[in-house]
Symmetry: C2
Subunit: 305 residues, 2 copies
Amino acid sequence: MFDRVALIGLGLIGSSLARAMKRDGLAAEIVGAARSRETRETARSLGFIDRAEALPHEAARDADLVVLCTPVGALGAVMQAIGPELKPGAIVTDVGSVKAAVIEAVLPHMPDHAQFVPGHPIAGTEHSGPEAGFPELFENRWCILTPIAETDPGAVAKVRALWEAVGSNVEEMTPDHHDRVLAITSHLPHLIAYTIVGTASDLEEVTRSEVIKFSAAGFRDFTRLAASDPTMWRDVFLTNKDSTLELLGRFTEDLIALQRAIRWDDGEALHKHFSRTREIRRGIVEIGQDTDAPDFGRRTAEKSD
Amino acid sequence: MFDRVALIGLGLIGSSLARAMKRDGLAAEIVGAARSRETRETARSLGFIDRAEALPHEAARDADLVVLCTPVGALGAVMQAIGPELKPGAIVTDVGSVKAAVIEAVLPHMPDHAQFVPGHPIAGTEHSGPEAGFPELFENRWCILTPIAETDPGAVAKVRALWEAVGSNVEEMTPDHHDRVLAITSHLPHLIAYTIVGTASDLEEVTRSEVIKFSAAGFRDFTRLAASDPTMWRDVFLTNKDSTLELLGRFTEDLIALQRAIRWDDGEALHKHFSRTREIRRGIVEIGQDTDAPDFGRRTAEKSD
């Protein structure tokens, strides 16, 4: 599918994509760039890339496809470095969780003879780093592409074919709409999970070990999201600020309405609210985006004593 | 272990306990009470009880152990009905998610010749009803007992032995401390999950089908809790009001601090907060209360198209 692919960033997403491309023979050569020497050595020894470079522009040189897989806050600087090295006809795509701000950061550094196809695979786990990746990560997940006026349809088709080849369903939308959709399906949930886990660790009357011990009562479901990569998430909130703040306002309003119902013993309002939220879960299970097995089908955990 | 056990309420918890007791031969006879005829017929046909009664006091008559498994809002009325039927030496326990309010509702109706051992198995799934139960539900989960001054230690020991027999680890604490621990590990997480799923269904710009489609980006983790039984949860919030409201205040404060950091581009504050929440998850995984497998070890969902 491609002669040479350069992956800038070899964390969970970059290393999973490399593994999937290797498994399926989608590129003749895969070059990876990572700033940390440890990451490069891990990537080499795990064998999912053919060559490792410390500097993005060394990896991007002569590549047919460059996939930007660093936290979104670094993309402007990365693109500035690799822009002059891109060969004519090269395609650049990214995997950032935010699209409007990424386009704004990347576009000024794109040479006229290359194409930028902004993208976002909706896939991930709570683990990060090159060891965390696995080739099946993108299977039956959606990947959103947000092409802009400048993007050549041929380049979009090639990037779409890549994601479809690794098992994803591809959808196109505008960058702004993407950022609104992800604010509710991803960014707000992560912020709230980070918040409640923080609130729990600050309690004086309930110890941290009690929180951990009795977490199966509900709390633990939040800790998975709150164990996500801090740098990635800092960048997401700073770059999708408007949509996040707007949604936060709505969420807080709704929470305060329920708080008020609790304070004034309004059982009817509570019951009504709690009844209408089941339907969405049913929809998610129906289209295969979650499992109906009790407790997410978690394997029975080990005895703890 | 017991001659006759009466289970008042045959939902997820009651039916799971019945199944576990049947499997392990812990009671010579298990009698179940359920108001709905459908529930009684389901319970009979699934075979996890020996006899079904419509009225709680019919089931409680001559029982050695009565386990109250209805939503906590109903416990006062149930106890009022069964109190006069309890035989001398009978033990009554419950499985309610709130303890101080349950004790207040139950105690006035307890005859002097019977014993009340307030209890709470920290176990459950997002499903409810008699079909949802399974005998392994309590394995490697904690069960909290909150004995009061009036409780005979011999009765506590018997209830403890029952929960240990079905696989739980038993811990004792005061009712007030229980209510504070559960407010953070269970009640606040459920309230927040219900809120965000409600917020998502009210959006105008992002359709409900988009929310469902792209839920794997984080949102879906909240939908499991928000699919829990509305009546049970209404009662929990109305009966653990003080602890819930106190915690909600702290949560909102913390959320607004993060909101402010986003608004003012304070990346350092965000990164610092996001870094300290990983540790709690590690603790939960270490003591076997959750799985380290990516994505909770969810099986790969079915292809949706």
